[in-house]
């Protein structure tokens, strides 16, 4: 490599001298920031436009887009700065960002505004081209009509994961609605509602509290991961998957992955895999706790100093006796069953000896880094399972010191993307609903309350959603749960009266819209974002349009500016006539006031990628210095293994049958959970975030299918029972529906469990058999939320599988 | 039949070209038995075009297998290195020699000695060409082909097919006293028959034991023994029809003999190409 590295340097000088623009890039590199991405790769006739991949994968990788003859020829990513393993950072794009050319030029792109053909029903898929003027008129008039009939609470702009982080995602829409009296809002996300709203607040009082990145791992330590697959879900060259790889190689850390499937971290030289029956993490933790308790390995000092509710001694005031976690584990309270490793073993299907050993490994490790992804919480019992995992490190005092984590997801990020965003203004409407319940809000909005549906900001909603704008999401017939049931709700035009889909691609969700608008992709307009969810990195990526807009695609700020003009609020909307690029300058300059280390706006634009490596944040919360003086934001001010608030919810909330809330993380199997299998649906089906796509966004890119075939994973034991061979076309069914996909017969998934990558497009004859041929997991998932957060329980699915046509 | 049918043009080539070439062996035998004596000679002098045409049709098949035959001229640069070039070179040499022979023969200007000389040369070239048709596939990294059986079966197909086609040629030429040829021609055909079945059967047997990460070579063509059976039945039928044609001096029967042998060999070749398995990927 010495050869090619030195050659790179030589030709860098040459190239930088040869082309004016690129030379300027080289010159603008500050000392604080690593030099601009190497210009050597630019051939003289190329134009290189900086952009980034803007999807919701946590990556936000830099894309250097090579333009030839006005067309995107190929992309490169960031290789600037130190490319050594573990030093510096490079937001290198993954296979999906690298395949963006096919996606940007794909056959599914929307080109013109379209209106549902008069006389057809939602779902019929009949659309006719209209002019932008007509489209803008329609939005303005429907907004006015619906607000005057039902009030602003009837208007909703759906979550946007399609462009998760940017200075302008769906913000222009929300800004406009806020200027016109407001809109109903949601809280939580499909991603992490349960851990964020059903776990963290009750344990640490704040989401993400105490999280440390893999960059802080110490020599030789043990990492225990529950349902965390960073090499699948944090794939960028500066993502957590890379960090963990670095730590494994350089710090010799040992990694254990507890997961129903062998994720990519357990391939090659990665982690040890302990297969666990999905949804049983709470039982596993209880079994480990039992072993720790009887072996006298719990850190009582830590538990008594910093936590409440481990044992009856530290129960908060007002708590019933024998309601501590210890009482639950030792059989002194709750169900009066001792949670021995043998008990846990029967539930989790992990051998008893391995559970015992795991307990001793965890107790012996110092430090021990315990973390979880969002797999365990994406279930109907997600709140309790995820909370159980979160208290495991507390039992052994492995929180709040170097090399530890708080039991949630690892990491933190540098610049807050919310600080680098156009403002959406103040929303006069205060009520919020849990995102996952949006179909329920459409159907039964006025019946939803704080107690039965977790409504926040108000005791209850006054009406359902009557106007819904979907910008950058495919939730209606793709990413939301139970497509068959959801689309029935959407088809009823007396419920939601006006639906807009504003997307870059014609997804199946568009078929439920009254108006379809063609957006420019982020790469086709002005963009700006931060480093993404990559840990201990700071970066700002600037993006300029890679070419002229094609067809009649138009970006959202300008379009909703036209609507704002109709509604008479354009001046406020545009902050006095700012263009999209003007906003970028304004947002950046405002941000730079607080971050004087940054280059000027013009320099940043010329540089394309502005990044700063800095030492990993290994700081310890002041709470550990003096818990009395620095209380947490929990009800007791302490870390809560027992939550008084949850005790209160348990007493006051109305819950669906089978759901339960306990003040300590009791194992509950949950709706369609690990203990509900039937003869008809004997298998547990679990989804995962696959390398083959980011949700539905890149799922239409054929070249990605070729590299990561959409399929359902099935263990050879289950496959043999059904005469299913690798590559067979199979039918997968649940109480919710049926889909077709290919079988991947593999030991990467444990027996009794099917695993499917999520994101593939729904393709079904909805007037006929409703069988999905696209391999879209949400054909099979249910709308049953998890208990406390009312977040998604999408991966609690019971299913059956057979050879298609057999 | 595995991927074999994708190589149908090549199968056609390796069926027809050696068959046509080896037909000249039958002509040599006829020459030695005096069949080219005055009277029959004008017809026979023209009939010698028939096997050459068959060879050329085979070569057309080969050319149609390549995607850019226009670059074919470069195919001679691999001489000595590329087994494929060697095959083409020997085949090419054969065609040139045969062409000259046929032209001279058609002009009726060839003396007995000269004709015998040409036919000996053509016979040697025909056998060599058949062997090279096999050698072309003996590639180190393709263990399912890299066996002497590959050459043996090609020799067999050449000799068997050549006997049938040679017989037909002689019949078309109304060559008198064919009975005298029965014995020597029968011996050549018998050798061809044995080599063909031993060669192909031996290769199939070997392929049961050769495997890579995708499975055994034999499993690439699930019906491989069926193809062997087709070859065997066609070969037997060819010999029977040939013998009958010889006995009755019946052209139609000779045509049938040629066709059944060619069909049998063709299917065996399809099977052969299907058996192509890399040592690794």
């Amino acid at each position: 490599m010495s050869q090619s590295a030195s050659m790179t340097r030589r030709s860098f000088m040459k190239a930088a001298g040869a082309t004016g623009a690129l030379a300027a890039v080289g010159a603008s590199a500050g000392t604080l920031f690593s030099p601009a991405p190497d210009a050597a790769h630019a051939e003289p006739e190329d134009k290189v436009v900086y952009q980034h991949c803007a999807v919701d994968c946590g990556g936000q990788c830099v894309l250097k887009m090579h333009i030839k003859d006005g067309e995107l020829a190929y992309v490169e990513s960031d290789t600037s700065g130190d490319s050594g393993f573990g030093e510096g950072f490079q937001p290198r794009a993954c296979l999906r960002g690298r395949s963006i050319r096919q996606w940007l030029n794909g056959p599914d792109r929307l080109n013109y505004p379209m209106k549902r053909v008069e006389g057809t029903k939602r779902g019929d898929g009949q659309y006719e081209r209209i002019s932008w003027d007509e489209a803008i008129d329609l939005i303005a008039s429907e907004f006015t009509r619906i607000v005057s009939t039902y009030g602003n609470e009837a208007v909703y702009c759906q979550e946007c994961s399609g462009i998760e982080q940017n200075y302008m995602t769906r913000t222009p829409i929300r800004r406009l609605f806020n200027l016109c009296g407001g809109q109903i809002d949601r809280y939580g996300s499909y991603s992490s509602a349960s851990i964020t709203f059903g776990v963290y607040p009750y344990v640490y009082g704040k989401s993400g509290w105490g999280a440390r990145s893999f960059k802080t791992l110490q020599e030789g330590e043990l990492v225990v991961m529950f349902g965390n697959a960073p090499s699948d879900t944090r794939m960028s060259g500066d993502g957590a998957g890379y960090d963990l790889n670095v730590a494994r190689e350089q710090k010799h850390v040992r990694i254990i992955s507890i997961d129903p499937r062998r994720s990519e971290v357990c391939a090659n030289e990665g982690a040890e895999w302990i297969p666990i029956k999905p949804g049983t993490d709470g039982a596993l933790v209880a079994g480990i706790a039992h072993e720790l308790i009887v072996s006298d390995l719990v850190d009582l000092d830590f538990l008594h100093t910093y936590c409440v509710g481990f044992d009856d001694e530290t129960l908060p005031e007002g708590a019933e006796p024998n309601t501590s976690y210890r009482a639950y584990v030792m059989g002194d309270g709750y169900d009066h069953v001792e949670k021995t490793p043998a008990w846990a073993s029967a539930i989790t299907l992990i051998p008893e000896a391995r559970i015992v050993q795991l307990a001793h490994e965890i107790a012996a490790a110092d430090p021990c880094f315990i973390c979880q992804g969002w797999g365990p919480q994406r279930r109907t019992n997600g709140d309790s399972g995820s909370r159980a995992i979160m208290i495991l490190p507390l039992l052994v005092g492995q929180v709040g010191k170097p090399g530890t984590n708080s039991g949630g997801r690892e990491g933190n990020n540098g610049y807050d993307p919310d600080d680098l965003s156009m403002s959406s203004g103040d929303n006069p409407v205060k009520a919020k609903f849990p995102l996952f319940l949006w179909p329920e809000v459409i159907k039964n909005g006025d019946k939803l309350t704080a107690e039965n549906a977790g409504i926040q900001g108000a005791d209850k909603l006054t009406c359902g959603i009557k106007m819904m704008v979907n910008f950058g999401n495919n939730t209606m017939a793709g990413q939301g749960a139970d497509i068959n049931k959801t689309t029935e709700i959407l088809k009823d035009e007396s419920l939601c009266e006006f639906i807009v889909s504003y997307d870059v691609n014609f997804t199946d969700s568009c078929n439920y819209a009254d108006l379809i608008l063609p957006d420019l992709a982020v790469q086709e307009t002005y963009s700006m974002t931060t480093q993404g969810d990559c840990n201990d990195t700071k970066g700002i990526w600037m993006g300029d349009p890679i070419g002229e807009p094609k067809y009649e695609r138009r970006e959202v700020y300008e379009v909703f500016g036209e609507v704002a003009k109709k509604l008479g609020v354009y001046d406020e909307y545009s902050a006095g006539g700012l263009s999209r690029e003007g906003w970028r300058r304004k947002v950046y300059d405002d941000f730079r006031e607080k971050h004087s280390e940054l280059p000027t706006y013009d320099e940043a634009v010329a540089q394309g990628a502005v990044k700063e490596g800095y030492p990993a944040d290994a700081g310890i919360d002041p709470y550990f210095d003096d818990p009395e003086a620095n209380p947490l934001k929990t009800e007791t001010g302490k870390i809560q293994i027992y939550s008084p608030k949850l005790a209160e919810y348990a007493a006051t909330w109305t819950l669906p049958e089978g759901d339960a809330i306990y003040p300590v993380p009791v194992y509950v199997p949950g709706y369609d959970g690990p203990e509900s299998a039937t003869d008809e649906y004997p298998l547990q089906l679990t989804g995962f975030h696959t390398k083959g796509t980011v949700h539905s966004t890149y799922a239409c890119n054929e070249v990605l299918h070729k590299m990561s075939e959409p399929s359902v994973w099935i263990n050879p034991i289950d496959a043999a029972e059904r005469s299913i061979s690798d590559g067979d076309e199979v039918a997968v069914t649940s109480a919710q529906g049926e889909l077709r996909t290919k079988a991947k017969v593999t030991n990467r998934v444990m027996p009794g469990v099917l695993a499917m990558g999520q994101g593939y497009w729904h393709k079904a004859d909805m007037a006929g058999d409703k069988v999905d041929h696209g391999g879209c997991l949400n054909t099979l998932t249910s709308l049953h939320p998890n208990t406390i957060s009312k977040g998604t329980g999408q991966h609690s699915v019971l299913a059956q599988i057979s050879k298609a046509g057999a | 039949m595995g991927q074999g049918f994708a190589e149908a043009p090549l199968a056609l080539f390796t069926t027809l070209a050696p068959m046509g070439a080896c037909a000249f062996i039958a002509l040599l035998i006829a020459q030695m038995k005096g069949a080219f004596a005055e009277g029959g000679s004008t017809r026979i002098n023209r009939a010698v075009w028939l096997p050459l045409v068959v060879v050329l049709v085979g070569f057309c098949g080969a050319a149609s297998h390549t995607l850019t035959p226009a670059h074919g001229i470069y195919a001679f640069t691999g001489l000595g290195r590329s087994p494929l070039t060697n095959e083409i070179a020997v085949g090419g040499l054969f065609v040139v020699v045969a062409l000259v022979f046929c032209v001279l023969s058609a002009r009726g200007k060839m003396g007995d000695g000269a004709r015998r000389g040409w036919l000996v040369a053509l016979s040697v070239l025909a056998v060599a060409f058949s062997a090279f048709c096999g050698l072309a596939y003996m590639v180190e990294t393709i263990p399912s082909w890299d066996t002497p059986f590959t050459v043996v079966q090609m020799l067999g197909y050449g000799l068997l097919g050549g006997s049938a086609l040679g017989l037909l040629t002689l019949e078309v030429a109304h060559t008198p006293s064919l009975e005298g040829l029965a014995r020597p021609l029968g011996v050549v055909a018998a050798i061809g028959f044995v080599l063909a079945l031993v060669g192909f059967g031996g290769q199939i047997g070997l392929c049961q034991t050769i495997s890579n990460v995708w499975g055994t070579a034999a499993s690439l063509v699930p019906a491989i023994w069926g193809l062997f059976a087709v070859l065997a039945v066609c070969a037997v039928a060819g010999v029977v029809f040939g013998a009958m044609a010889l006995k009755r001096g019946n052209v139609a029967l000779a045509v049938v003999a040629c066709v059944v042998v060619a069909v049998g060999v063709f299917f065996a070749r399809i099977g052969f190409y299907g058996l192509q398995m890399s040592i690794a990927l």
Binding site: Y242, P351, K706 | G72
Partner: protein, 205 residues
């Protein structure tokens, strides 16, 4: 003669296929053709213990590779036209002006590197991104690797202590002398090991 080669750290590879994607994009490959392959290999199985719990000895590993620009290429040996040739930098590539599309190179290469592109009428394969290399750049796959698992350079600079690629499903390196040097990983099994199978057939075949 200089000889370039790849160095692949299997312990780092996560099977993400970014290398393959970058190559496909840069060389604008049709969807059915790839120059770089990432094989997913699997071995072992699951069994039930006395208490009905699951135990497994299964394992998974990835192998990413393209053309090895071999010391003794199988492909050039068989090529009738000399279109498949090894140049003075050690790169093995196709001279499209000579290729007849006969497919012999594809059949003979034990790494399945060349493919005949029927629409182009000739064979295509990894050329080591030699145009980029000539300009002092890395092959695009190397710069793309999210885990920095692949490096590229003159073989004398590529950690010569690491052995030449000896891992299933690749062939015995003695066969062609591949210029692929590998840092092995725990899960790897040597060439010819019949206890592993390809787990992502549709993605590589």
């Amino acid at each position: 003669m200089p000889q370039y080669g790849f160095h692949y750290d299997a312990a780092r590879c996560t099977g993400c296929k970014t290398c393959e994607a970058a190559c496909r994009d840069y060389h604008d490959l049709p969807i059915d053709i790839t120059y770089r392959h990432v094989y997913e290999m699997e071995g072992g199985s699951f069994s039930k213990d006395a208490n009905g719990c699951w135990v497994t000895d299964s394992f998974t590993y990835y192998v990413s590779f393209a053309c090895q620009h071999c010391d003794h290429p199988a492909c050039t040996k068989v090529c009738p036209t000399g279109a498949m040739h090894k140049d003075d930098q050690g790169f093995v590539s196709v001279n499209t002006e000579r290729c007849i599309g006969c497919g012999y190179c594809a059949m003979s290469c034990p790494y399945n590197a060349p493919t005949v592109d029927r629409s182009l009428g000739h064979s295509v394969k990894c050329d080591g991104c030699k145009d980029r290399v000539a300009q002092g750049q890395n092959p695009i796959c190397v710069d793309a690797c999210t885990q920095r698992a692949i490096t590229f350079g003159l073989v004398e600079d590529l950690a010569p202590s690491d052995s030449r690629a000896d891992v299933a499903p690749l062939p015995d390196p003695a066969l062609t002398g591949p210029n692929l040097y590998i840092v092995s990983c725990d899960a790897y099994r040597p060439h010819g090991d019949s206890s592993v199978h390809v787990a992502n057939k549709p993605e590589v075949k």
